[in-house]
């Protein structure tokens, strides 16, 4: 429970963080809220040589309404997302889901960018960002690039982020359809989702249904083709290959995906009025 030796640098700005990344490259890890990274280091499952702490880069913590999207700084904590009036009005799905992550301590430290960059498929917020068709803004030595969230996640703890790149902003378009729902089944209140489902209109994100956060594409297609909610939800697990773990078998996860997608679509439809 004591990590191996590492060097620590605190970045004063996003720019400095990017230049430190360029300097230390492959051996460095960005430390934001630390709620994923530090436990892994304490168990010695992650052993970065350098930690670049962006915890005080306040310029990366914001929620702004822009002309055609909502911009969320990567360092914005779950707690701030949960209690944002702007999100409550414009993206209640993200505010609500953020309030379901872990417990209050986790929500005060954990950040939206950390969760996305970590690439953990059991995290709630990445699937929400997928369902919202978000775009990820990334800074690197060669400048800034924008990556659609649908292309960001590659595998377990693996994203398209290069070792010298820093995720700085999440851009979320204003949803065309106002109905939303977040359905999360956990064993205990503070646990990770066994399965969770994020619904915005007829977009459906899946948590913990494979090696990356996913969209329920078969369900979405069925809805587009005019299927009923029940029929579309029955296809929620198509194309997924969820893990087996202590909490659940793949079969159970697939079943939960179908149930939770149906409940989510029904609730979203109800909210849409």
């Amino acid at each position: 429970m004591i990590p191996p030796k590492f060097a620590y640098r605190r970045a004063g700005s996003a720019e400095e963080a990017v230049s430190l990344l360029a300097e230390y490259g492959d051996e460095a890890k960005i430390l934001a809220g630390g709620h994923s990274l530090l436990p892994l280091m304490k168990l010695r499952l992650a052993q970065p040589e350098f930690l670049i702490d962006i915890g005080r880069v306040h310029e990366l913590s914001y929620i702004r309404g822009e002309a055609d999207h909502i911009a969320v700084g990567a360092l914005t904590r779950y707690h701030d997302l949960e209690h944002s009036e702007l999100l409550a009005a414009e993206l209640p799905l993200l505010a609500h889901a953020s309030g379901k992550v872990g417990d209050p301590q986790v929500r005060h430290r954990g950040t939206i960018g950390g969760s996305i960059a970590h690439g953990e498929s059991a995290s709630d917020v990445p699937a929400v960002v997928l369902a919202l068709d978000g775009t990820l803004v990334v800074s690197g030595p060669s400048g800034v690039r924008e990556i659609p969230s649908s292309e960001f996640f590659l595998g377990p703890f693996e994203t398209v982020l290069e070792p010298d790149e820093l995720l700085t902003e999440i851009r979320l378009p204003r949803p065309a359809s106002p109905g939303w729902s977040f359905q999360k089944l956990t064993s205990r209140a503070i646990d990770w989702a066994i399965v969770a489902v994020a619904v915005q209109g007829s977009s459906v994100g899946l948590v913990n249904m494979g090696s990356t956060p996913l969209r329920a594409t078969a369900t979405e297609r069925a809805l587009a083709d005019g299927a009923s909610i029940t029929d579309a939800a029955a296809r929620a697990a198509e194309g997924t290959s969820p893990f087996a773990d202590r909490n659940a078998s793949p079969e159970y996860r697939k079943h939960l995906a179908r149930v939770l997608v149906r409940r989510g679509l029904e609730e979203a439809a109800g909210r849409a009025g």
Binding site: P4, I190, V259
Partner: protein, 751 residues
């Protein structure tokens, strides 16, 4: 008015909630200055032969003071063969078993250095689970020729016992392994000076720790002092000195330097004794009118890698097998097996919750088979109130009990009939959220036994204050409050002038400790008796002082003064008598012992909602009657019941220590070991009931484990009951969402 029985707020809490407790790792004592920090090198393998240990790289690491292995334990008595060693020598038998101790100048250097201790392991097949152990294909102790290291009870079962039963039900059920997981993990600190070992230990019983240290280190009793600072929970798993604690004491002598050690949570979940871990085969037979005629309990106890208490626990399970029921025939037997997993020890209830879980499941299965209400079947089989003292077929003699009254009281409080009506309505409309109602009735054994006394010293000082020393060292129970209340009640000295001390073998050289729900009835009685003794001595002193006949002296409990009967206005306060007694004041030492146990009992109703689509169960109500005799302080007793119910519900719904097929623990962090939190629990509905015992002068029984014993079967039963209309009869614990969903599916497929 007596303070006993009133809701006195815990006097411990202002300190605990403001400046905080002084747990072991908080100690900043001059005696521990310059201490080296201990880190244990632990086996990453469940079962392996050690072929070599190379410590040289670790010794070169900065800050390393020493690296010691089993080979260095040459100055103490050898562990008897087949017994758990202090450090593994030839073979490791569970993941997390200590192999070497690394001492470093600074705490943080320990893990880096421990990683550099190179241990060569020759991997052996791992034995995981009792079924595999029983095959004896791989032996943990080849010299023994079997993994079954002890057995007892019936040599052979008598099938005739069930021959004339109209209905016989048999089922194998799992009482899964759980972790004690106290918030304060294990910790110790040691100093060797002037040929004497002082050891600070996070323990439930300093005297037990001292006795283990003297035995294992070959020291004289007088050469060891054990001190317990504040202790943050134990639940049975902090009884006695674990091997790490002994090694810390030894290392302080070996290196001539104070040594301190605190384990990580990860280590705690791998190496602290765990609990339960029994496999039960239950057979129950009786008539269709609800009378049970015969009951059989066949136990396989998983001891883990070494026999700590795994040989003893099933004896308690067998003793309490028939529970609150008057059963004509009871047969029990057990086998204790070793497996390549964490050793099993005492855990809140220690053998008795397992007995209750088994008989209560059996009663439910029997009730379902004959189509009778679960509460009614219980009522038809209770030991009747006029039969006490009642000796069971397994040899326990219950002191007092009102089992039907406890059940009726809890059913009434729960609104049982209305709950059943609501259940019917939900079933009729095929509600997606079904209701389950679980009923349990229990009796347990606490307190007495041969050699199970407790010590106390009560001293009234010349300044009028009182110090109470107790041999029963608490770790959260509230002794400081309860003992002061008992003394105030006897002496009339207000409890804010009474200080309760504990946990130092140099002050009270003998004592037993806090476990097995024994403290109030044994330790509290010792305190009360010491106060009574002081009162009698004070009477003599007051008689001298006032030149009166001792028989005429009266202690006015309101003012705390002695007066002569019929002579108003003249009173001698305690301080004056203490001064008269001499510089030491008035002091009495007592030991209270009884070989008679007490048998607390009760009944619980749990109400669970099950989401029939996802299978997820949710405990929505928990109502309990827990009768442990007269209550000294309802706040303390309710606190014990709250914690007990929570831990018991946790076993039913969430907790399980598990291993993969290689014996790797997969629940060695608190992310994976899912203990319960307030968010998973309803507000408990506690119903009072007090049936005294005559075993001790306070009339009290133990309450520490009652909640755990009653709640587990009630909650488990409620989950099963929610699916009863589908034909589901049993779901093993923990009743996880997937297990419940699977049971629903299987039942629907079968229909």
């Amino acid at each position: 008015m007596s303070i006993v029985g009133t809701r006195v707020v815990r006097t411990e809490d202002p300190r605990l909630l403001t400046t905080g407790a002084q747990y072991l790792e908080d100690l900043r004592l001059p005696e521990l200055q310059g201490a080296a920090y201990a880190t244990f090198v632990r086996s990453p393998m469940a079962h392996a032969r050690i072929t070599g240990i190379d410590v040289s790289a670790a010794l070169d690491e900065p800050g390393v003071v020493a690296v010691l292995t089993a080979d260095d334990l040459d100055d103490i008595p050898e562990s008897p063969p087949g017994r758990e060693p202090l450090l593994a020598k030839d073979v490791v038998r569970f993941v997390g078993e200590p192999v070497a101790i690394v001492l470093t100048e600074e705490h943080y250097q320990g893990e880096d250095a421990a990683e550099l201790v190179s241990v060569d392991y020759d991997e052996l097949p791992a034995v995981v689970g009792v079924q595999q152990a029983l095959t004896d294909e791989t032996l943990l102790f080849p010299d023994k020729g079997t993994n079954v290291l002890s057995r007892g009870g019936a040599k052979e079962f008598d099938d005739e016992a069930f021959a004339d039963c109209e209905v016989v039900v048999e089922r194998t059920i799992v009482n899964q392994r759980v972790a004690a997981a106290p918030l304060e993990v294990r910790a110790a600190a040691a100093r060797w000076a002037d040929d004497r070992l002082t050891l600070w230990s996070s323990t439930q019983n300093v005297h037990g720790v001292r006795d283990e240290l003297t035995g294992k280190l070959g020291l004289d009793k007088k050469a060891v002092r054990v001190i317990a600072p504040d202790v943050g929970g134990g639940f049975g798993a902090k009884i006695g000195a674990d091997r790490e604690t002994v090694v810390v004491g030894w290392a302080a002598r070996r290196t001539g330097r104070p040594v301190r050690w605190v384990e990580t949570r990860n280590e705690n979940l791998m190496a602290m004794s765990q609990g339960r871990a029994q496999l039960h085969t239950i057979t129950i037979g009786g008539s269709r009118d609800g009378r049970v005629q015969a009951y059989r309990l066949d136990i396989v106890q998983d001891c883990g890698g070494y026999v700590r208490m795994g040989g003893m626990l099933p004896h308690l399970t067998m003793l309490m097998a028939s529970g609150v029921y008057d059963l004509p025939r009871v047969e029990t037997a057990f086998r204790s097996v070793v497996t390549n997993t964490t050793p099993i020890g005492a855990y809140r209830g220690a053998g008795r919750p397992e007995a209750t879980a088994a008989i209560e499941r059996a009663m439910d299965l029997f009730a379902a088979e004959i189509g009778m209400d679960a509460a009614e079947v219980r009522r038809r089989n209770f030991v009747a109130p006029d039969k006490f003292p009642f000796t069971t077929p397994t040899g326990a003699t219950y002191d007092t009990g009102e089992y039907a009254k406890a059940l009726d009281t809890v059913l009434e409080a729960a609104g049982y009939d209305e709950l059943r009506a609501e259940q019917r309505r939900r079933r009729e409309r095929d509600d997606p959220i079904q209701l389950g109602i679980g009923v349990s009735a229990y009796v347990e054994i606490t307190g007495g036994g041969p050699d199970a006394g407790e010590t106390a010293r009560v001293s009234v000082h010349p300044d009028g204050t009182v110090t109470v020393w107790t041999g029963s060292s608490p770790h959260g129970q509230g002794h400081a409050t309860a003992w002061a209340m008992l003394v105030q009640d006897e002496l009339g000295i207000p409890m804010d002038r009474i200080t309760v001390r504990h946990g130092d073998t140099d002050v009270l050289t003998e004592g037993v400790g806090t476990f097995g729900s024994r403290s109030l009835q044994i330790g509290g009685t010792a305190v009360r008796n010491a106060a009574v003794e002081i009162k009698e001595r004070a009477r003599e002193l007051a008689a001298e002082e006032m030149e009166a006949d001792p028989a005429d002296l009266v202690l006015d409990l309101e003012s705390g003064t002695w007066t002569v009967r019929g002579v108003p206005g003249r009173g001698v306060p305690w301080a004056q008598l203490a001064e008269r007694a001499g510089p030491e004041g008035l002091s009495a030492d007592t030991t209270f012992a009884t070989d008679q146990s007490t048998f607390p009992f009760g009944a619980h109703v749990a109400v669970v909602e099950v989401d029939m689509e996802t299978g997820r169960p949710r405990l929505v109500r928990h109502v309990s009657v827990d009768d442990a005799g007269p209550v000294v302080n309802p706040i303390l007793a309710e606190g014990q019941r709250h914690g007990g119910i929570a831990q018991g519900a946790a076993q039913a719904l969430f907790e399980e220590v598990s291993y993969d097929e290689y014996g790797n623990p997969v629940t060695a962090t608190l992310l994976d070991y899912t203990f319960i939190s307030a968010a998973e629990l309803p507000s408990f509905e506690l119903v009072p009931m007090e049936t005294p015992t005559s075993v001790n002068p306070l009339g009290v029984k133990g309450i520490g484990e009652a909640g755990t014993i009653g709640s587990t079967p009630a909650v488990q039963s409620a989950v099963v009951d929610a699916l009863g209309h589908l034909g589901v009869r049993h779901i093993d614990m923990p009743a996880s969402p997937e297990r419940v969903w699977t049971a629903i599916n299987e039942a629907r497929t079968a229909q």
